[in-house]
């Protein structure tokens, strides 16, 4: 069965500094990986996804994620954080073998201070 781990409950970063939100996964077959963001009292918004191809995926709002097959990781990154990036971030994975559900991590709260 597939699984996702987001090892940090919260990440704190100063505005203007680079940020990384970590995600590792386990899946049967080739992974399909997603990042979503949730602002307070809102649904999840899609940020980016990896299916195949280039290991560096670019997404919305200046975010990008790096797929690393050997480390089974898909960390979310941004070169320069904004206060408005403060939100809850979810990593999710499914696999291309049979019908597999999308499994979400427990979420990482990003707090960007001015």
């Amino acid at each position: 069965a597939q699984s996702v781990a987001q090892p940090e409950d919260q990440v704190n970063v100063a505005e203007g500094n680079p940020l990384t939100v970590k995600c590792t996964y386990s899946v049967s077959g080739n992974p399909y990986l997603f990042w979503y963001v949730q602002y307070p009292n809102r649904g999840l918004q899609f940020l980016l996804k990896y299916i195949t191809g280039d290991n560096l995926v670019k997404g919305s709002y200046g975010f990008e994620a790096e797929f690393n097959k050997s480390q089974t990781s898909f960390h979310l990154k941004k070169p320069s954080a904004l206060v408005s990036d403060s939100a809850l971030y979810f990593c999710a994975v499914t696999g291309d073998t049979g019908f597999q559900k999308l499994v979400f991590g427990t979420g990482t709260r990003l707090l960007v201070s001015p």
């Binding site: 009292n41 809102r42 649904g43 999840l44 899609f46 559900k101 979400f104 427990t106």
Partner: protein, 112 residues
């Protein structure tokens, strides 16, 4: 843009009441999903549907049922609400199985 709407943003119900949560998507998506979100647990799949009148149990279907009579609409039903069903409920849809899921704004349900 994909639009997924949910009938209520906030609901307060009494224990034992029957509760209906409605979800509508406007992109002719095949698949629709219901999740609940609880702090520290992430999102957990309750039920999903890959076609009209078709439904499949997710990871936590107990105490819930669903209905999909039309392609664009997927309803979650709490037959007899209990306090442990107090949660944020999120609906999502996707075109096909491995495609991106798009989420509605969520319904925050409080069962007293």
């Amino acid at each position: 843009d994909v639009k997924v709407t949910q009938s209520s943003r906030y609901l307060v119900k009494r224990t034992g009441e029957k509760v209906f949560l409605e979800c509508v998507q406007d992109m002719d998506h095949e698949n629709m999903f219901w999740y609940r979100q609880d702090p520290g647990l992430g999102l957990r799949l309750i039920y999903f549907s890959y076609d009209v009148k078709m439904k499949e149990k997710g990871d936590i279907p107990e105490g819930y049922s669903v209905s999909r009579e039309k392609k664009e609409r997927f309803s979650l039903i709490l037959e007899s609400a209990s306090t442990n069903q107090t949660s944020m409920y999120l609906c999502a849809s996707s075109f096909q199985g491995l495609e991106t899921q798009y989420f509605g704004p969520g319904t925050r349900l409080l069962v007293l």
